[in-house]
Symmetry: C2
Amino acid sequence: MPFTKAELKFIKQLQQKKYRKQYGAFVVEGWKSIRDFIKAGYKPQKIYTTLKPAGLQNIEPPEIVTPKQLKQLSFLQHPKDALAVFKIKHPGIIPDKGLILALDDLQDPGNLGTIIRTADWFGVRNIVCSQNTVDCYNPKVVQATMGALANVSVFYTDLHKFLTYIDLPVYGTFLSGENIYRCTLPEEAVILTGNEGNGIKDEIARLTTHRIHIPKDRGAIAESLNASIAAAIVLNEFYRRSK
Amino acid sequence: MPFTKAELKFIKQLQQKKYRKQYGAFVVEGWKSIRDFIKAGYKPQKIYTTLKPAGLQNIEPPEIVTPKQLKQLSFLQHPKDALAVFKIKHPGIIPDKGLILALDDLQDPGNLGTIIRTADWFGVRNIVCSQNTVDCYNPKVVQATMGALANVSVFYTDLHKFLTYIDLPVYGTFLSGENIYRCTLPEEAVILTGNEGNGIKDEIARLTTHRIHIPKDRGAIAESLNASIAAAIVLNEFYRRSK
């Protein structure tokens, strides 16, 4: 066996936030993403793979496993070609400049992963989350980022305090507000996105300096957009204004 | 018991496409969405609810169930206040005018649901899918549309034939192409989105008249955007141009 029962147990525990915190480790699946994390300076503690990879330097040689063994370790229904355990990197000091995305209690791992992937695409590399936002090292989040998490710093903090003390305009997306197509969008700002069901909490909403909305067709019955879609449209609007 | 074993079995079968096709029925959960479908002219065959609803006319009175019984019927981990079985409505003739969204083998139910919700938001009410695209009456799709499926017609057809004979410009999103921020976008067109992993198939890509791309930040490591995000950004660009 290329791994012990204890190793298998350890990896399975990393599906849970409490163990990721305790061990300071998380799981990435698939060579494409694993390479992205290594390139970004994350340290792999261990890699299990069904393929002999080429061109990896300065890391311990990976453990070769059979597809069946990889399936035992994997969190995915259809495992990829490799699974790695990485050390969590502490993101350092919360930035106070540039474009920052702020998330108020976002709950769905798929949404957070998609938002991180989209933020990276549009060059937003800092995301500040409320403490109740889903953990960015949750395996479903990591998967949905498609490697982009390696390129984006995600901070968890008291969002109310962060928004109180930050010296940047705060743009919040609401169901009513200024038409995003028409307003001026600055190069430096906080872009605030809310929870899937409840949007932005009142106490947080009070700290926005600019209320914006995404125009909706008159005949639409949709009451809101999916949180990751709303964030993407706002990121797209900031990005197109900067070009 | 407010429902028989046979009813329970029938509802559970509706998770599978083959039974939805055989019975011509699908499931919607939650009053908000159920009302949207009724308003849109869908016929409920049966409604099970834990609440006595107000203001519903011209339908059979719903079956009152306990939360525990609703949980037995429900496909959701956290069931809502009601579950309804509706008759599938045949969407009629595929349109050849206006803005039409076309999907080439989209696979993920969450993505299709989110795309339907976003299309409705931006006033695109017709979606033409390749035969291999995930079924729009899949419960996860219905859930993710948040009722918007009631307002949007989804057609399944031979996409190659459809694009060959349609007399509209066909805009496809690719990793390279004209910058979407700079190109003219017409009021009537087909907007083509591809599969999550493989994008738009070559044989379909050949039928596009305009190749567009969503600009990406130089430092990004993301190779692509999530399919529902890419579709949303393109829909947003068409919508803002029409304003």
